[in-house]
């Protein structure tokens, strides 16, 4: 028997569309495991850790999201035999059940914020010191001090943005996960939102953005709830 690769857990009876292909061209099928249906494909070996495999993994999870809210499995969880996968799931069954219930009927939306009034370096206070060549110990310490002050300002700016966003979204965001922002983003945050409230979420983020013209605010998603599926 070939190895097996899992993509997501869904409620029992939620089956993949016919002919859906997985990370290695295996056909995706639903496997009932102790109260779940797990979307898997038979794969003789672990997937190559490359961009194409990652995108294929996501495509299967997104296909599941069209039928029900899936609990996404992290990339790379290949098992050498179906019994190994079943054993892994059984070991964490209570946690997985709770997590699947928690995301049911919900979707993940994200907000990224770029720009801002205070650049990371060379701001008014730092002047040219941050970019000046370090010629002696005093200059080196001054540079460190300015960089530290700059990081504190950025952090305060991020916190203010997050607070503003929370106030704008109110109870619409059921849960929040703050992600490390990938440059040039200042803030990257994911929210778990009822599926029916996606339009309202976008409206509220737009309102939040209107009051902050110095920033570029962008909504990402909807995503399968990756950020809220890590028990």
């Amino acid at each position: 028997v070939s190895g097996v690769y899992p993509y997501c857990l869904v409620p029992v009876g939620c089956e993949p569309p016919r002919g859906l292909r997985g990370v290695g061209e295996g056909v995706v099928e639903g496997r009932d495991v102790q109260g779940f249906t797990v979307w898997t494909s038979e794969e003789p070996s672990p997937p190559s850790p490359n961009l194409e495999s990652i995108v294929r993994h996501d495509a299967v999870v997104r296909a599941a999201a069209e039928a029900a809210t899936p609990l996404p499995v992290r990339f790379g969880a290949w098992a050498p035999h179906p019994s190994v996968l079943v054993e892994r799931i059984n070991r964490r069954r209570a946690q997985l059940e709770a997590a699947l219930t928690a995301v049911s009927g919900r979707t993940e939306l994200g907000v990224t914020v770029e720009g801002g009034s205070m650049p990371a370096s060379g701001s008014e206070e730092t002047g040219d010191a941050a970019t000046e060549p370090v010629t002696d110990g005093r200059a080196y310490l001054r540079k460190l001090s300015l960089e530290h002050a700059d990081r504190r300002r950025r952090r305060a700016e991020r916190l203010a943005l997050l607070e503003g966003l929370r106030a704008a979204l109110g109870a619409l965001a059921l849960h929040e996960r703050v992600h490390p922002p990938a440059s040039p983003a200042l803030v990257s945050v994911a929210h778990l939102v009822p599926r029916r409230d996606e339009a309202r979420y976008r409206q509220r983020v737009a309102r939040f953005a209107r009051d902050r013209s110095a920033y570029r605010v962008r909504v990402t998603g909807p995503w399968p709830p990756y950020s809220f599926a890590s028990p």
């Binding site: 672990p46 999870v61 799931i89 490390p180």
Partner: protein, 75 residues
């Protein structure tokens, strides 16, 4: 980039990779990163990897609010 990601903006691609690789349920597993059929790095996915930036970002969340609670905690 491979065909399957044509037309995907690069910023969205970064967010996609972050989510698929770093989030989601960890059901164990192993990956071996190879170059030219030489195994260079074996990764045991039983470990939960967290970057310093990740820790800092979580710390930036204002404590004491319902919003800052993550589903992963306590389940």
């Amino acid at each position: 980039l491979p065909d399957v990601v044509e037309g995907v903006p690069s910023t969205s691609l970064v967010e996609l990779v972050n989510r698929v690789v770093d989030r989601g349920v960890s059901l164990s597993g192993d990956l071996t990163i190879s170059v030219a059929e030489v195994d260079l790095l074996h990764i045991g996915l039983r470990l939960v990897l967290r970057s310093v930036a990740d820790e800092e970002a979580d710390a930036a969340a204002i404590p004491g609010t319902v919003l800052a609670r993550r589903i992963g905690e306590g389940v």
